[in-house]
């Protein structure tokens, strides 16, 4: 408690300005100019300031020494040009400027005495009045405007009268397009009497409204829809769509495509989100946290996977890796790599080696080569994956398998059109290293037997197509592949056709023989054992032909196409049909044959697989035939 506080309390007259500076002095370190007062004496006071303080002569000097004229303030009138009327002259304190000093004294009095005619009295000096610095903040929104004619030609609506539209636009202006407010204050009452004034407008829009004014309950979306409709149309009227600038057009599009239904739906969603029970909210929060965690973990996982891939991404070797498949081979590989490792002083290879082992099981085709994987090559490929792959657009460059693409989400996604332009193609699996496209064609041909090859080339020459492509662009190669496949199929079918023809001939020959035999039987009417044995013969014959069929199928096995299967089935059917010609009496035989067929097939070729549906369709057929 300071002494002046005590004085205050005791109502003693204060000492004047003396003790306040003293207190100030005390808190700061005692200054050397406290002469005449020993420090001990001063410290006697303890926390309380000592009232006896040598007068600081500079204090007063400073105060009165630099005496500048005090700033003069005046109560000055001003106006605000943002106001509609400009008649309101409010007054605030402003620093006096020289020019005004003369007026300053008279002004307040004048205003005080005749406040009523401030407006008129100061009319002459209104140009001299300051404008408020805040006037510039008054901005208005632009709302669409339309004339009577424009309304009638563009904006007529069944749902909205002109009067109500006017009302809406007016509200929008009043509330500066703040929709929640517009909706909140929307209290439209359809008018009757005034409708005679703009009678045509009302009549044109809806004659009923003039008679039965039905007040709509409009929701916010209705209001927005109407407003945007009007605004978009008037925008288009003032400036046809094709002349609009980008921004204007975008605005126009947004307004023209306002969809109140989706808004309503969105609000419903929001409402549901708001009216959740605490449990639901908690659960959702829980799920959200979970999702966030999963996403975070996913990111980490992706990162790790990418790293792993970078490591794993050994170049698909062109050479035979079978030497490394034995444990001894692996040992030597490890030795090799260790050597390289040592020479390059790289550490990370040890674990990369471990990765390499499972990867060596990866299928890798291609002609056998010579050297083992070289370190530098590994590096370059890893770099090419980690680096800017998106710059490689050309179709010439084979893309990596898609799993790499997934691990690089940052790559720019090309649209379909762009992909076509740049010739980007996606493959499931590609051999590494460059390949020639015509090699692919050659491969198809060279894998065939010589006879087949010959036949294919024959067909090609028949079709007037050179075996070697002159211009192996991708589409050409693709078409060529398709063509070759077709030719293959064609050849297969031809072969089967030939075989079936041959079979028919055999059967016909047999039939002729049998007829002869039956004729002989009829003639002779002798031992039935004979026929039995002949039947036996026929059966064994059948198995032989079946075996041939299976062999034929075997040849097709290189291309396990569904279509070939179908073809096979239908040929079977055809065979059966041919059999049926033989006569109803033979049905049991036919059945037996199909049964044989079934039994024979699985054993006949491992690669050729018949789908179950095909089988069942066959048995269906046989059942039908049995009925007959």
């Amino acid at each position: 408690m300071a002494s002046h506080d005590v004085r205050d309390m005791l109502n003693l007259p204060s000492e004047g300005a003396g003790h306040r500076p003293a207190k100030k002095q005390k808190t700061s370190a005692p200054r050397p100019n406290l002469k005449g007062l020993a420090r001990e004496v001063q410290s006697l006071g303890g926390d309380n300031p000592i009232a006896i303080v040598p007068e600081i002569s500079t204090f007063k000097k400073r105060r009165f020494g630099s005496r500048k004229p005090t700033a003069r303030w005046e109560m000055r009138s001003f106006q605000n040009s943002a106001r509609g009327d400009c008649s309101l002259h409010l007054r605030h304190w402003r620093k006096q400027t020289d020019g005004r000093r003369s007026r300053a004294s008279s002004q307040p009095q004048q205003d005080g005495n005749t406040p009523g005619d401030v407006g008129m009295g100061t009319q002459s000096e209104s140009e001299k009045l300051d404008d408020s610095g805040f006037a510039k903040f008054n901005v208005q929104v632009d709302v669409p405007q339309y004339s009577e004619d424009q309304y009638n030609s563009n904006l007529v609506s069944n749902d909205w009268t002109k009067h109500e539209t006017d009302y809406l636009i007016e509200l929008a202006r009043t509330y500066d397009l703040r929709w929640p407010l517009i909706w909140d204050r929307y209290e439209y009452t359809p008018h009757l009497s005034a409708s005679t004034a703009d009678g045509e407008g009302v009549d044109v829009t809806d004659p009923n409204t003039a008679v039965v004014p039905a007040p709509h309950v409009r929701n916010l979306e209705d209001l927005k829809r109407r407003y945007y409709e009007v605004a978009a149309k008037m925008m288009a009227v003032q400036k046809p769509v094709q002349y609009m600038t980008q921004a204007e057009f975008a605005l126009h599009e947004v307004m023209a495509n306002f969809d109140p239904d989706s808004e309503t739906r969105r609000k419903k969603f929001a409402l549901n989100a708001l009216s959740r029970s605490p449990d639901e909210a908690r659960e959702e929060e829980h799920l959200l946290i979970e999702v966030r965690r999963i996403v975070a973990r996913q990111e980490k996982l992706n990162q790790e996977r990418r790293e792993l891939y970078n490591r794993l991404d050994y170049p698909h070797t062109e050479q035979d890796i079978s030497t490394f498949k034995s444990s001894a081979g692996l040992q030597t590989l490890l030795q090799n790599m260790m050597n390289i490792d040592k020479s390059k002083k790289r550490k990370s290879l040890m674990d990369a080696n471990g990765m390499n082992t499972p990867a060596s099981a990866h299928p890798s085709g291609g002609p056998p080569g010579s050297t083992p994987v070289s370190e530098s090559r590994r590096e370059s490929i890893a770099a090419s994956i980690g680096g800017h792959r998106d710059s490689i657009g050309g179709g010439e460059r084979p893309e990596r398998p898609s799993k790499k693409g997934a691990s690089q989400p940052e790559r720019k996604k090309l649209s379909e059109q762009e992909e076509q332009i740049y010739g980007v193609a996606h493959y499931d699996r590609l051999p590494s290293g460059p390949t020639f496209r015509y090699e692919r064609i050659n491969k198809i041909l060279t894998t065939k037997s010589h006879a087949q090859h010959q036949r294919i080339t024959n067909t090609l020459t028949e079709l007037d197509i050179p075996t070697r492509l002159n211009m192996p662009t991708r589409p050409v190669v693709e078409e060529m592949e398709k063509l070759l496949n077709a030719i293959n199929i064609l050849l297969d079918i031809r072969k089967i056709n030939d075989k079936v023809d041959a079979e028919i001939k055999v059967e016909q020959a047999k039939k002729a023989e049998r007829e002869r035999a039956s004729v002989a039987q009829a003639q002779a009417q002798t031992k039935s054992e004979d026929t039995d044995s002949s039947r036996e013969d026929k059966k064994s014959d059948q198995t032989v032909t079946n075996g041939a069929g299976a062999a034929a199928n075997d040849e097709v096995s290189g291309h396990p196409h569904e279509r070939t299967n179908r073809e096979g089935t239908s040929t079977n059917g055809a065979t059966a049909e041919a059999m049926q010609i033989d006569g109803a009496g033979e049905s049991s035989l036919v059945k037996q044959e199909t049964g044989d067929d079934k039994a024979a097939r699985p054993g006949s070729s491992g690669a050729h697989k018949r789908s179950a549906s095909d089988l069942s369709s066959v048995s269906d057929n046989s059942a039908k035939r049995q009925k007959k």
């Binding site: 406040p115 805040f134 929709w179 929640p180 204050r185 908690r282």
Partner: protein, 472 residues
């Protein structure tokens, strides 16, 4: 204060503080208090109870009685034939008695806020024979003066449900009687939101006569959201009365003015006090007003809101409270008592309808605060609700109850789980009690507000209807 920076004499930094004061006055009338002061200040200069005294003086021939209105808390003292009235309506918090309102406002705006004008000694009152001076409004002066407020624009607040007619009446008084150069009418929740620095907010105003919940969007009231309920300070007082009347032993309300001296007694013991003797009868309204003072004191110091979560009536809560220290309240007559679990029951009716004690005057269903909030929000566009919940402004004197904000927060969290809820309640008592006034003070001192005022000329050209057109 040598260290104080000298005020810069140049242009005021307009870009930082958008103020530009034009010596406007701000008037905020509530049912319990009327607040008036200068725009730009942070508390109203003059706060008077909206209750005023009406003194009946019988003329010499004792046939006609004339009434003299007396304003100001210090004048509401024991007198014979003294009625206490309120110019506001109890149910609506809007002006009911316009004559009294005019006098009250004149008393505050002109007598209390304006500097004394020099009057010739003949009628400055000093030379008159002695009269009982207190509260004697120098009405004649006011009337003599043509336009006492000709230099001060006036901003007035009103309840958001105020009728158009009442607003027109207000502008008439302001323009015709006092000659203000400009006028504006603003709604209390909007002002309260401004005081909290918000243009959009959900304002919960727990005042004297009413509690209202209003959504504000961009400085304008969303009319459909306005909700009000009589659970305010006076309702709480009636809860206390019921509780005291029903408690055993019954607690008598003895207002301070009746006690001449008292002797301390133990807690729960009957009071030992000598009551003052008055040679006249008191009107019931005076007694009621004086009792209300006592009840307000009790509300401020004892009543506590159960903070939640959950209701106070949930099992276990009362036991918990009983185990905690209570509060002692001493009546003016010396009787004192420890209040433990009862003090939580009083305000529980604001939150839990079933917990409200029966009051004689409230047969109508009262809406609890959570119900009000729910109803207000459901009448607002869905898109605004999250923002409103993140900007809940709490204002009004009764919101100063202990634990009020905690409970409100808990209730909101329970009602809208998963939403971000933020309460803005001023920490200072004055800011909470004068929230609406402070907002009005801010508004009226803004430079950008100059363009809003309804000028005298506009009023003269358009008539009183302009207030409806302009003050949306």
């Amino acid at each position: 204060m040598a260290s104080q920076q000298p005020l810069p004499n140049s242009q005021p930094p307009m870009d930082v503080y958008g103020g530009d004061e034009v010596s406007a006055l701000v008037l905020d009338a509530g049912y319990c208090h009327t607040r008036a002061g200068f725009a730009g200040e942070d508390v109203p200069k003059s706060v008077l109870p909206s209750f005023y005294g009406s003194l009946k003086s019988t003329n010499t021939d004792s046939t006609t009685a004339s009434y003299r209105d007396i304003f100001g808390d210090e004048c509401l003292i024991p007198r014979p034939d003294f009625e206490i009235k309120n110019y506001m309506s109890r149910s609506e918090s809007v002006v009911e008695d316009w004559d009294a309102a005019t006098k009250m406002w004149e008393h505050m705006l002109i007598k209390r806020l304006q500097p004394e004008k020099e009057t010739p000694p003949s009628n400055n009152g000093l030379n008159d024979p002695a009269e009982d001076g207190e509260g004697n409004v120098a009405m004649d002066d006011v009337e003599n003066q043509e336009r006492p407020l000709a230099e001060n624009p006036l901003l007035m607040t009103e309840a958001p449900w105020n009728s158009g007619k009442a607003r027109e009446k207000a502008i008439e008084i302001v323009m015709e009687n006092w000659g203000c150069p400009a006028f504006w009418m603003s709604r209390t929740p909007v002002c309260a939101a401004f005081a909290a620095g918000k243009a959009s907010a959900l304002v919960i105003d727990v005042g004297g006569a009413n509690t209202s919940v209003t959504a504000i969007h961009d400085g304008l009231v969303l009319k459909r959201s306005i909700q009000k309920s009589p659970i305010g300070g006076l309702w709480l007082s009636s809860q206390i009365r019921t509780m005291w009347a029903n408690s055993d032993p019954r607690v008598d309300i003895v207002p301070s003015y009746m006690v001449e001296n008292k002797t301390p007694v133990d807690a729960g013991a009957p009071a030992q006090a000598r009551l003052r003797k008055f040679p006249f009868e008191f009107t019931p309204s005076f007694r009621h007003y004086e009792e209300e003072r006592l009840l307000t004191e009790f509300k401020e110091s004892v009543v506590e809101v159960w903070r939640g979560p959950g209701r106070y009536s949930n099992p276990g809560n009362e036991e918990l409270v009983k185990s905690q220290p209570g509060r002692v309240f001493e009546m003016p007559d010396g009787a004192n008592q420890m209040w433990r679990e009862q003090r939580y029951r009083i305000a529980e009716g604001m939150w839990d309808e079933a917990a409200a004690l029966p009051t004689p005057d409230a047969e109508v269903k009262i809406q609890t605060i959570p119900e009000l909030i729910k109803a207000a929000l459901s009448n607002v566009d869905v898109d605004l609700r999250p923002n409103l919940l993140a900007n809940v402004v709490v204002t009004g004197g009764t919101s100063l109850l202990n634990g009020f904000n905690d409970r409100l927060n808990n209730e909101l969290m329970a009602m809208y789980p998963g939403m971000k809820i933020k309460l803005h309640a001023a920490g200072l008592t004055t800011e909470r009690r004068f929230g609406a006034w402070i907002g009005g003070s801010i508004l009226a001192s803004l430079g950008t507000f100059h363009q809003m005022w309804i000028s005298r000329k506009e009023y003269e050209e358009n008539g009183a209807g302009i207030v409806e057109k302009r003050c949306k």
